[in-house]
């Protein structure tokens, strides 16, 4: 039977969907303290695509890979609750301040260490940076093909994968050999809910550093419940050039951030008289908004 080794790239992001008025600091940077940290929504769509492959081929193994602070282990647990088999937290002070280039470099080094994979799936973009660059850059660094804007994985076997892409003006169905990297759109199906039993089983899963911090017994955890320890990789665990990491490896420098407030420039009041309505209709038809 077919089984696939799938890596899902995920990011913990501030929840910019529920932005209040104190979401930005005076200096124009995101005030992370007031925004809850969540699983980047399109990465959840990516996880769902991976889980659907696993539904079809239950022997498949899904490994979640995230880079971020220790706290990002939260989204690995989130992933376990929904069905991911394994999780790796790439965390090290040396990664701090990474732009997309440094991020994709670090991730690709971690993936090279994982080595054995058929498919990498990630969200199209993260809601904090909205660059949509990391997925494609990872594919380039690994020298594998990439399929962006995926809405549905229609078929998969050991030789090839068939993917429906959602593009601005329509859909495109493409085929590709494995291994491949796929980025998933938000038009793809939502991720399934957390599973009650998996939640109760994995809620105690932590990284070693967190576990030791809270005074847990290192050896006991390692031996008794392997599923309860989240793999934690720092720069010493992956083969990488330090100059390409973090701030040093990030050519992007933010010069200035502007606060943009969307507002309508003009408004027109129309009463519910027949005359007014037919005028509005005419205007809408003339400007090709309707008709």
């Amino acid at each position: 039977m077919n089984a696939f080794k799938i890596i899902v790239l995920a990011k913990q992001v501030p929840d910019t969907r529920n932005v209040g008025k104190d979401a930005m600091k005076a200096d124009g940077t995101v005030n992370r303290a007031v925004l809850p940290a969540i699983f980047n929504p399109e990465d959840l769509h990516a996880l769902e695509q991976a889980l659907r492959i696993k539904d079809q081929f239950p022997e498949s193994i899904i490994t979640l890979l995230t880079m971020g602070p220790v706290r990002a282990a939260e989204i690995l647990r989130e992933g376990f609750y929904r069905g991911a088999d394994d999780g790796i937290l790439l965390t090290d002070r040396a990664f701090a301040g990474s732009d997309t280039l440094a991020t994709s470099y670090s991730l690709s080094c971690a993936i090279k260490k994982i080595k054995d994979f058929d498919i990498i799936i990630c969200g199209r973009q993260a809601i904090d940076g909205d660059t949509a660059q990391v997925g494609p850059q990872v594919a380039e660094k690994l020298h594998i093909p990439q399929i962006t804007y995926c809405e549905e994985i229609q078929a998969i076997d050991k030789k090839k994968i068939t993917v429906k892409r959602r593009l601005e003006r329509g859909v495109e169905v493409v085929e590709c050999a494995l291994p491949v990297l796929i980025t998933v759109n938000n038009s793809a199906p939502h991720c399934r809910p957390r599973n009650a039993k998996r939640l109760m089983k994995f809620k105690h899963a932590t990284t070693m550093s967190k576990h030791q911090e809270t005074g847990g017994d290192y050896l006991a955890t390692e031996n008794a419940n392997t599923h309860l320890s989240i793999k934690e990789w720092g720069i010493s665990n992956i083969d990488c050039e330090h100059v390409q990491l973090g701030l040093a490896g990030s050519p992007t420098k933010v010069k200035k951030v502007d606060n943009i407030v969307f507002q309508s420039k003009e408004s027109k009041r129309i009463d519910d008289f027949d005359e007014d309505i037919s005028l509005l209709m005419k205007e809408l038809i003339d400007s090709h908004i309707i008709g």
Partner: protein, 576 residues
């Protein structure tokens, strides 16, 4: 992005009741699953009380999220599309199927079943709370999901092979049906005629006949009440059977076109030599198993009533805040805010009654399951008896009062919407239609009263009121207690006036007395709630104003009536 658990602090409040420590310890049998080296696959068992409560909270968050994001938003299309019948099989509406898929993927079937069958082994409280939440999202769907109650009955009475066979399937997401009613056997289940006979050749029981009004009659596994004893007429000739839809022999002949809960398929079933397994002992079908099944189903309807009431209240509140008339939101008019406050008081009071009842059920069920493993101590045995009695008393009381409240709340909620509420444009018209069934099925209010009046005549409710009266309270809440003591005296007088007369007179006033008892008990429960969280004082105050007036009216009715009055009410004697 809505969460129907976290947005309702009432739920967390009841989940954190002090008795939970005891209840969970009993249910988890001193947390032994976690440390049982033979228990493979029990790695989700809790280590201790805190761990279990944390799991309850987090799993209810999943329920709340699915309800807020999937089931609630699907409710309108499900109500509109409804299930369809295709070649004798039920096809759910698209939204219903999505709901089921989400619930199954989230592992929310078999919530209260033991781990060895793949269940979550939760106690009744979080299970009932999930029913409360699901009902707020879509009352019709709450039925399809809530029929996992039947599995509880299999767990209580079936043999080990049957448990192994069927309970695992339920935990994996197969749906169930409770197949009791027939065209001539509704409230009077003793009249069930569906025939069961044992076929020596095929070595199986075969069922023949017709069942009607069967909720989710197309479900994979059904519990069927059938007449196994030839030449019998009453309840003692009935046995309970497990029917597996995979074995065939049953067609869905018709789907009812209903006023409400339209997403939940109500089926007419034709059994033609349908093979089935006997569940438990012959002849105990109605008198033991169906009684147990009905009790847990009734608890489910109390939860459904509370959930629907919650939904209706929220719709009304939201509308009243937004709707501007005479230059201000209508919520600012006394006529409107008065209605809303009473609605809120009714939801809160019936919810307190719901969880009090659920705690009683939890206590006796856990003790009874432990009694299968070891002998209970004398104290434990007494405790089990006490709580079973309380559960039996509170269930019909809760079912009758909560379902009537649910209807009243839905009526007022629609009223607050004015003309808009009468249109299909707002959810309230669906909620209003859905509410209507709660006081009818699983035994009408009138039948609940027949069961509950025993709690009046035996003095059992009164004894409970006296128990509550003894609870220590904060000095600033003593005035509420005085009101309740006064209401209790009024109730005692009314009861004394009625019970000295004949049975017909008791039946005549039964509903009034049961209502009075229920109002006092709910008042006491709210008073207890205020002890734990002072924020309930306003609700208590509003509820007492309402309940006191209601009880006074009932007491007046009873006070001004005597045996001779009955004739004036009888149809044949009405001359106009």
């Amino acid at each position: 992005m809505a969460n129907f658990f976290t947005d309702n602090p009432d739920l967390k409040f009841h989940l954190d009741h002090p008795l939970m420590q005891r209840i969970v310890a009993l249910k988890e049998n001193q947390y032994k699953d976690k440390n049982d080296p033979m228990a493979i696959g029990f790695d989700y068992a809790p280590q201790d009380f805190e761990d279990a409560m944390d799991s309850y909270n987090q799993v209810l968050e999943i329920v709340g999220e699915i309800c807020g994001d999937i089931i609630g938003p699907n409710a309108e299309s499900v109500d509109h599309d409804g299930p369809t019948l295709k070649d004798g099989n039920v096809v759910y509406a698209k939204g219903t199927q999505e709901n089921i898929d989400a619930i199954v993927k989230a592992g929310l079937m078999g919530i209260s079943l033991p781990r060895k069958f793949g269940g979550l082994n939760f106690c009744i409280i979080p299970y009932v709370m999930a029913a409360d939440i699901v009902s707020r999202a879509d009352a019709g769907f709450a039925n399809i999901w809530g029929l996992q109650d039947c599995a509880e009955t299999i767990n209580d009475f079936a043999d080990e092979i049957q448990k192994e066979k069927y309970l695992k399937r339920v935990c994996n997401g197969e749906t169930m049906a409770m197949t009791l009613t027939e065209p001539d056997a509704g409230s009077d289940l003793q009249a069930v005629m569906l025939k069961a006979h044992y076929d020596e050749g095929k070595k199986t029981w075969l069922l023949n006949g017709v069942k009607r009004f069967i909720t989710n009659g197309g479900g994979e596994i059904s519990l069927v009440l059938a007449r196994s004893e030839e030449r019998t007429q009453d309840g003692r000739g009935l046995s309970m059977f497990i029917y597996d839809r995979a074995n065939g022999g049953v067609t869905v002949r018709r789907l009812e076109n209903k006023l409400g809960i339209k997403g939940s398929p109500t089926c007419e079933l034709v059994f033609k030599d349908a093979p089935a397994e006997l569940c438990g002992q012959r002849k105990f079908g109605l008198i033991k198993y169906v009684m147990a099944l009905m009790n847990s189903a009734r608890l489910g309807i109390i939860a459904q009533s509370v959930g629907i009431g919650e939904a209706a209240y929220r719709e009304a509140l939201g509308y009243a805040k937004k709707r501007m008339q005479f230059g201000k939101p209508i919520i600012e008019f006394p006529a409107v805010y008065e209605m809303l406050a009473v609605m809120k008081a009714k939801v809160t009071a019936s919810r307190s009654l719901l969880y009090e009842t659920a705690r009683f059920v939890d206590m006796y069920k856990s003790l009874s399951h432990i009694s299968n493993e070891r002998d209970l101590t004398k104290e434990e045995k007494e405790e089990m008896k006490k709580y079973q009695k309380l559960a039996d008393m509170y269930t019909p009381l809760g079912k009758s009062l909560a379902s009537e409240f649910c209807n009243e709340i839905a009526y007022d909620a629609l009223q607050i919407h004015g003309g808009s509420g009468f249109m299909k444009d707002y959810p309230i018209e669906r909620i209003y239609r859905d509410a209507r069934i709660t006081s009818i099925y699983e035994g009408t209010t009138q039948l609940q009263v027949v069961a509950a009046i025993r709690g009046v005549t035996t003095g059992a409710y009164l004894a409970q009121m006296k128990e509550y009266e003894k609870e220590p309270i904060k000095p600033e809440t003593e005035s509420y207690q005085r009101i309740l003591i006064h209401m209790t005296e009024q109730y005692e007088e009314a009861e004394a006036r009625v019970v000295v007369q004949n049975a017909e007179f008791i039946d005549f006033h039964a509903r009034r007395l049961v209502e009075m008892a229920g109002n006092i008990i709910m008042g006491y429960l709210l008073l207890m709630d205020v002890q734990r969280n002072h924020e309930y004082w306003k609700t208590l105050e509003v509820f007492l104003k309402f309940a006191r007036a209601k009880n006074a009216a009932n007491s007046t009715f009873i006070g001004y009536s005597n045996l001779n009055d009955l004739g004036k009410f009888k149809y044949e004697n009405v001359s106009l």
